[in-house]
């Protein structure tokens, strides 16, 4: 069964450093999402991406964040200058463009630790 994959599973970085989190969505999917979950808190929406552009973003998704689909398979989230409060689990999700309902398939997550 096709699934969303994410790498790395755990990333440790120093405050102020840039990180890139990588996702490989399900191959025929057209809509892509990033969510994050700070430890012990709920899952929060960051950004959605369709047709090579951002379709919606939350207030969390400030200028430090960017997303890209550099090729036909990867979907990346870049944090330019990490802060301590960026420490969280980051989930990628994707959905196809044919079903009328919004079933998003989630990856296993990348745990980002900012020291």
């Amino acid at each position: 069964e096709p699934e969303v994959t994410q790498t790395p599973s755990h990333q440790v970085t120093q405050m102020g450093q840039e990180v890139i989190l990588r996702c490989v969505p399900i191959s025929n999917h057209l809509y892509f999402y990033w969510y994050r979950q700070i430890l012990g808190q709920k899952v929060e929406f960051l950004v959605s991406f369709y047709n090579n552009e951002i379709s919606e973003k939350s207030e969390i998704f400030d200028d430090q964040f960017s997303v890209e689909r550099p090729d036909g398979s990867n979907f990346t989230l870049k944090i330019r200058s990490t802060k301590l409060e960026d420490s969280a689990m980051y989930f990628c999700a994707s959905r196809d463009g044919e079903t009328s309902y919004n079933e998003q398939f989630f990856g296993p997550g990348t745990r980002l630790t900012v020291l």
């Binding site: 999402y33 709920k42 919606e56």
Partner: protein, 113 residues
């Protein structure tokens, strides 16, 4: 504004007992409703979804949920829980076919032998 409220942050139950995890939502438009499960140190797995039609929705692992429009609720139930059901359960809504999913704060289900 649309929101999701999970009324219980933790629910302890004995093994083989029934369980209900409560979820209420707020929306002025039609919604799609979901329950996701997160096992320890894992990602999110879809348990079940309500899109339209029958208000009783059956999902994986013996779980079911009932959509109640008048009470704006979507409570999750299982008639007999197992140790393996120990996890965090998230109720979630979305408001169009491509929009973001809004999650509740989660309910931690702990099963006592």
């Amino acid at each position: 504004a649309q929101s999701v409220t999970q009324l219980d942050s933790q629910v302890p139950v004995f093994e083989e007992a029934p369980v209900e995890l409560r979820c209420n939502y707020s929306s002025s438009v039609s919604v799609y409703l979901f329950w996701y499960v997160q096992y320890p140190n894992q990602g999110l797995q879809l348990l079940l979804k309500y899109l339209s039609g029958s208000t009783l929705v059956k999902g994986i692992n013996g779980f079911e949920a009932e959509f109640n429009k008048s009470q704006t609720s979507f409570h999750l139930r299982k008639p007999s829980v197992h140790i393996s059901d120990t996890a965090e359960y998230f109720c979630a809504v979305s408001f169009s076919s491509a929009s973001k999913i809004i999650f509740g704060s989660g309910t931690r289900l702990s099963i006592r032998p």
